[in-house]
Every structure is written in C-alpha cells, then in structure tokens.
Symmetry: C2
Subunit: 149 residues, 2 copies
C-alpha cells in the first residue's frame, strides 16, 4: 500500500507520521488527478474540516518531494497535482476547448528526446512535453459549427 511506503519514506527523512498527512494522502490518491490545491483542500475539508489549507499545501509539497505526487503547470497557469505511481512517467494531451487532459506514454518519443539531447551534449534528467489542441469531441463540434456557419 502507498500509505506504508509513505510512512517508511517519512521516517527515513526524519519526518513524523500524522493523522493529517495520512488523511490527505488517502484522499489525494483516491481522487482524480490534475486537481488544484483548492480542489484537494475542499475534499479534505469535507472529511475533516479541522485540517487547514496550509497543511494540505505543505503535504502536497512533501508528497511531490518524495515522489508520490507530481506538480503540473500547464499553459493555463494553474498549479495542479496528480498521484504518481512509483517510478512512472507520462506526458499530456490537453484540450483547449473543454480542458480534458489525456495521458500518454511513448517510447519512441522518449528515445528521440535522448537522441536530441545527446546531439547537444546534454545529459537529461527529466522533461516536459505537452500537446495542446482539440480533443476528438471538440474537434467534431468545431467542424460542424464551421459547416453550419
């Protein structure tokens, strides 16, 4: 379970396990990804209204540092968080009309990135790759609007 891995990592770092951290992790892992702090806090507050916004903020920051969460800042400027399964990685397709966020992994893309980096003498640690456009549904609506008007 993630919660025990979290406890282990915390004690490794000399951090303490608290009811608040456990609840926040629990709620975070059982929610959809790509939520902003306000949305995460709202869920937490619904379960335990005593937990402060600041604690949610600090816990998400901690989860990010320990690799349980990823902070994302897409082009709309909002800061979102999503749970990250151990060692996993993915990139994003983002719909500019309805806001839908699709995740993808592509080995060719990863190796092409490494090739590009090597060509420039870079040693790559991580990357960010986001594709912005219209999702299938929105592209369909858009073109039907064009046909009519």
């Amino acid at each position: 379970m993630e919660s025990s891995r979290f406890k282990t990592r915390m004690s490794e770092e000399g951090l303490k396990s608290t009811r608040q951290r456990a609840e926040i992790l629990e709620i975070f892992l059982n929610s959809a990804g790509h939520q902003n702090l306000g949305q995460i806090y709202a869920r937490v507050a619904k379960t335990d209204p005593k937990i402060g916004y600041t604690t949610v903020y600090r816990t998400l920051k901690l989860l990010t540092r320990l690799g349980f969460a990823a902070q994302r800042k897409f082009a709309d400027g909002e800061t979102r968080y999503e749970p990250i399964p151990e060692g996993a990685h993915h990139d994003h397709l983002i719909c500019l009309r309805c806001g839908k966020i699709i995740e993808f992994e592509d080995d060719h893309l990863e190796s092409l990135q490494n090739r590009i980096a090597r060509r420039h003498g870079f040693d790559i640690f991580h990357h960010r790759m986001e594709l912005y456009g219209y999702c299938r549904q929105c592209a369909r609506k858009k073109s039907s609007i064009r046909r009519k008007g």
Copy 2:
C-alpha cells in the same frame, strides 16, 4: 524590418503607434532572448527612464499577442520573453546547473508529436517541449567532481 510589420499589425488592430512601443520593441529585438520583465525593463529604462514598468509589461503582452514575442515559463517558474521570427518555432534544452538555454528544432519530433496526437484523436495547435539536464560543460564538471570525491 520588424518595426514596420509591428506598425502595420497595430493599425490593423486599431492600436496606436507610440514612441514607447517603438523603443521597447527595438530594445527587445536587440537583446538576448529568454529575459524576464525586470531585465527587459532595466534595458528600456537605461535608454529612456521615463518609460514605466507597466508600459513594458503591457507592450510585451501585446507583442506576445501579435506573435512577435513568446512568453516562456520553464520549470523554475520565472516568466521570460523571447523574440519570435515570423512563423518560427523551436523547443528548449535547459541546464539545471548553469541555467543555459539551448534552442533546437527537430522535424522528427514534430511529426512524432502529430502521430501521437492523431492516435488519440487530437487536433494539435501547439506544444511545449523542454528537456532538463546538464549541459556539456556542467556534465563534465560534475563527473570530475565524482572522480575526485
């Protein structure tokens, strides 16, 4: 010249040409890319201390809207601007140690992005692709440090 293209675009949009806008564009185009507002303002103020920070802010926003500039927000969170030659596009390699920013273009990457998008039914308008790691010089330093200690 870019400045006449700028005037044309401004009048097309019902905007007025001003000394301030002309000076800011001139300075912006003749500086290195990837500068933040403070840096751009500092240069502008050196030439004409009467021009306000707000005007530089608004002009960069305008240049971005009209396609003369691109606003970039890399992972360090700073907002930077760079001049964009008409219709051009490039992506970035960013050194996590010295901050160096290298630009690259790669047709395979562009077409692979389109293939990935199509696979998910997306119609892509633009994208963001940043590779983070150590540049040649910094990677070299890092490994020599490792050898010694």
